[in-house]
Symmetry: C2
Subunit: 149 residues, 2 copies
DNA sequence: CACCGTTTCTGGAACGAGTCAAGTCTCAGT
DNA sequence: ACTGAGACTTGACTCGTTCCAGAAACGGTG
């Protein structure tokens, strides 16, 4: 468990500390965790870690390219360790569950806007919104849940 | 301008009130406005409107499909009146300027994930991140700006 | 045109996510 | 071990947004 995170940190030229390895370990166990959940889980492992430390660690890892941050509308930011392959996400409107998704057509047709209006584009972010399987079930059983729009 | 907003409200079955028409008018003048900017502009037109009224109006219009809300990571929510054509957005990392963009390939290849993991997908959201023309200029002149609008 | 029930608006307090600042501690190279 | 840059702690704070209770405006009726 601890091994990948240590190596990754060292390879990225970052210092290896308990909070850092713990954060990365949590991220491996929970592929789309919020800062809050990460803090909670890290505290379970290490006893006491400040919110600020969690944000610092995450920021450092994001800067080093070890971690990717996504921010779906209305949800707190999520962090994941799958970086570099520019995959997309499927987010449930009801429960917020997030699932990875490889790019629709293998290549990235989406990544090249037809008319970039003079912008220097460096990233394309694609989010699919819908209902996850279990929320579809709950929805049909209990029709008065807060709906999508 | 004042006319369209009234008609739109009436057609959507919403009451026509001063704050509502004013909000829609502002939205026509500023195609990607924040709630805050809208409140400010509406206050210029009408003298005094509460923040809450602005949020209520926007929520009602979003629910009625008159207005679309987008929430680019790290920026406050933006509102626009172009609805129904599922266009995408180009957002400047430096100044937050947002530009509409028709879907890259005319059709929507992005809208149909290859594997939807059982989700009932109802919307695909695409955001391109980059630097707008003027920020590219500023950036090359003053390489360490850390600005936001 | 005065009444009434709804819907909308006001003002202020509250919220959660995230950030800032200043001081203390810890890792890694000598 | 020693030391200095970098990491962590604490706690207050900002910002966008939402909640709440009450006041006002709307518009269909008698």
């Amino acid at each position: 468990m601890g091994t990948w995170s240590e190596t990754a940190l060292r390879d990225a030229g970052l210092r290896v500390t308990r909070p850092r390895t713990a954060v990365l370990d949590v991220l491996v166990e929970h592929p789309h965790a919020t800062a809050d959940l990460i803090g909670h889980e890290v505290r379970v492992k290490l006893g006491k870690v400040s919110k600020q430390a969690v944000y610092d660690v995450l920021a450092a890892c994001v800067a080093a390219g070890l971690v990717r941050q996504i921010e779906p509308a209305g949800l707190p930011a999520l962090f994941e360790t799958r970086t570099g392959d520019n995959h997309h996400h499927l987010v449930c409107r009801a429960c917020g569950r997030t699932t990875d998704l490889d790019c629709a057509t293998g290549a990235q047709p989406c990544l090249t806007p037809s008319d970039d209006a003079g912008y220097a584009v460096d990233e394309a972010e694609v989010v699919f919104w819908g209902l996850c399987p279990s929320c579809q079930l709950n929805r049909s059983l209990a029709p008065n849940v807060r709906s999508s729009a």
